[in-house]
């Protein structure tokens, strides 16, 4: 097998050095009653071309392909990924290296992540960002747990029901063993969070609001910051579409204390929902309570600038049961990939791309409303919005899918009160022609 380099002669010679006759002798410490019975029941090995052919067969069963126009977001976004992002992130020195615990031979990763931390902190408008967490959902859970650590006497957190339903599920999974209470905050007809249930609540440590939220609506985080802080809690701003901050005010400048969300939009393929990138940033005063790895700047013996993993004493390998989190890996390559994307896009490019997404989305929204659809929420949006149709939209949607366009998704599955409502997403990958096709099918 091409990944196993040993020849029978080499094996014999190595055994002779060890002083054994057979490789099996090396496993004598494994008792008979722990032994595997027979061969592992997995399929026979395939050669490279057999496996390539199998993958082609599998690919052929996928009915929505790369040439489809997919008007679906809901936490995972189709954006154009520049060719250099793929080729640079795929360099084997980045791809096949380990966590940078030996900094002298890992300055590529370390400077790359330091740059990622900087761009992320600037994007989110906060003092410090970590080297990433697993995804937006676990980042939100970690953000709330961090809020509970910082607010020494906190016992409860509040989460808006306009946060992505999957994110709320993950938060529940993480918080269940802690006994902390989760207050759910409703949203109004404008699609924005209603903070009034927080009146008179005590022991509140953190309040999580997503913006743009699951319905695509942009929350007024600036308005929310004061009542949240007055209640003695931290404002945790979640997000699934960070491109929005190329147009709308970022969480830090709105008064958020922690910003945590998903970075996939910034250069990662949609890839059936994973791998992902948990972006996480907070105010400087809370840095020692922050979970995850951190890269810091320093100098070497000759005074030259370099980078190292730092503030490691917060982490599991030192603090063990008192760690700020159990996290070990981050999403190193994903973080580097988004840094390359942000570097390619630049400040001017990000602003232009965000505006482009917004304009295309508003065009479809206006066109569909004129064709008879009803906008479910009145609040401002970025590149997603929710519509309700007069008749049954399913057959129209099927016709569009046959023409290569996936027109939104019915969000009733993950938000039962909104059965029959469709969440649409429009990005720069969609042409005006595609949008006009959708509008004309709906009008018909």
């Amino acid at each position: 097998m091409r990944y196993l380099p040993h020849t029978p002669e080499e094996i014999r010679e190595m055994l002779a050095v060890i002083g054994r006759n057979d490789i099996d002798d090396l496993f004598a410490s494994i008792p008979a009653d722990c032994r595997f019975d027979g061969a592992i029941p997995v399929p026979t090995a395939m050669t490279e071309w057999q496996l390539g052919a199998l993958m082609r067969d599998i690919a052929a069963t996928m009915t929505v392909g790369p040439d489809h126009c997919v008007l679906v977001g809901a936490g995972r976004y189709h954006h154009h990924i520049p060719e250099i992002v793929r080729s640079l992130a795929g360099r084997s020195e980045f791809l096949t290296s380990y966590t940078p615990y030996q900094p002298e031979m890992a300055q590529g990763t370390l400077q790359g992540i330091f740059e990622y931390q900087t761009l992320t902190a600037r994007l989110l408008g906060l003092d410090v960002a970590n080297a990433s967490l697993y995804d937006g959902a676990s980042a939100l859970a970690e953000g709330l747990l961090m809020g509970l650590r910082v607010a020494r006497h906190g016992r409860r957190v509040a989460v808006s029901m306009a946060v992505h339903p999957h994110y709320r599920e993950v938060v529940r999974s993480y918080l269940r063993p802690t006994g902390y209470e989760i207050i759910e905050l409703p949203f109004g007809p404008d699609g924005r969070t209603d903070l009034s249930p927080l009146q008179g609540v005590d022991g509140l440590a953190a309040v999580a609001i997503q913006s743009p939220n699951f319905f695509g609506v942009v929350e007024d985080l600036k308005e929310a910051a004061d009542p949240v802080h007055a209640a003695g809690a931290l404002l945790v701003a979640a997000f699934t579409e960070p491109l929005a901050f190329g147009l709308y005010r970022n969480p830090g400048r709105c008064g958020a204390d922690i910003a945590c969300g998903e970075g996939q939009s910034l250069g990662l393929p949609v890839s059936f929902g994973g791998a992902a990138l948990g972006m996480f940033a907070c105010r400087g005063e809370y840095v020692r309570s922050m979970p995850g790895r951190l890269v810091g700047e320093t100098v070497d013996l000759e005074g030259r600038r370099g980078f190292v993993l730092t503030l490691s004493t917060r982490e599991q390998h030192i603090r063990r049961e008192k760690a700020t989190s159990n996290i070990c890996s981050n999403q190193g390559l994903c973080a580097l990939t988004t840094a390359i994307y942000m570097a390619s896009l630049g400040g001017s490019g990000l602003r232009q791309l965000a505006r482009h997404n917004y304009d295309l989305s508003e065009y479809l929204k206006a066109g569909l409303v004129a064709a008879g659809a009803e906008l479910v929420f009145s609040g401002p949006t970025f590149n997603e919005f929710v519509l309700r149709f007069a008749g049954d939209f399913a057959p129209v949607r099927q016709r569009l899918q046959d023409r290569g366009i996936v027109a939104g998704i019915d969000i009733g599955g993950c938000s039962p009160p909104h059965a029959g409502c469709y969440l649409f997403c429009v990005t720069e990958k969609v042409t005006k022609k595609d949008l006009d096709t959708v509008i004309s099918e709906v009008r018909a």
């Binding site: 490691s312 004493t313 030192i318 603090r319 008192k322």
Partner: protein, 131 residues
């Protein structure tokens, strides 16, 4: 790390098994860590301290000392209320390495002075370290 003979253990303070030192002045007890402790820990990068007004019992953990690669909890030699914390340690934690007996960490209004008398003398502490 140094040999025992190279370290300082002044007789003017008392010691605990966990390597804190305590110095009494009326109702107030000043607390820090011994030369042995700072030598073992290496370069101290951060000191986590309690807040004024916090109340602890003898043996409670009241803070931590962090070096680059390790964290050490610090425990109360006596019970009482925190009346002062050494703010200088926030910016210059290395003072503990440079001057372990000058760089106090907290001052406590002690509940029971008897607890102070139970602490080890310098001689007993050195004996403990040797053994």
């Amino acid at each position: 790390m140094k040999e025992l003979s190279e370290l300082d253990f002044p007789e003017t303070v008392r010691y605990t098994e966990d390597h804190e030192w305590a110095a009494v002045d009326g109702e107030i007890v000043r607390i820090g860590v011994s030369d042995y402790a700072q030598d073992q820990l290496g370069d101290i990068v951060y000191v986590e301290m309690p807040e004024i007004g916090d109340i602890f019992e003898k043996g409670d953990e009241f803070g931590t000392l962090e070096s680059v690669k390790a964290v050490s909890e610090i425990y109360m030699p006596v019970g009482g209320e925190v009346v002062a914390v050494n703010e200088a340690l926030v910016d210059t934690p290395e003072m503990i390495n440079q001057d372990p007996y000058g760089a106090w960490i907290v001052e406590i209004r002690v509940t029971d002075v008897g607890e102070y008398d139970e602490l080890m003398s310098a001689e007993d502490y050195i004996e403990m370290l040797r053994g």
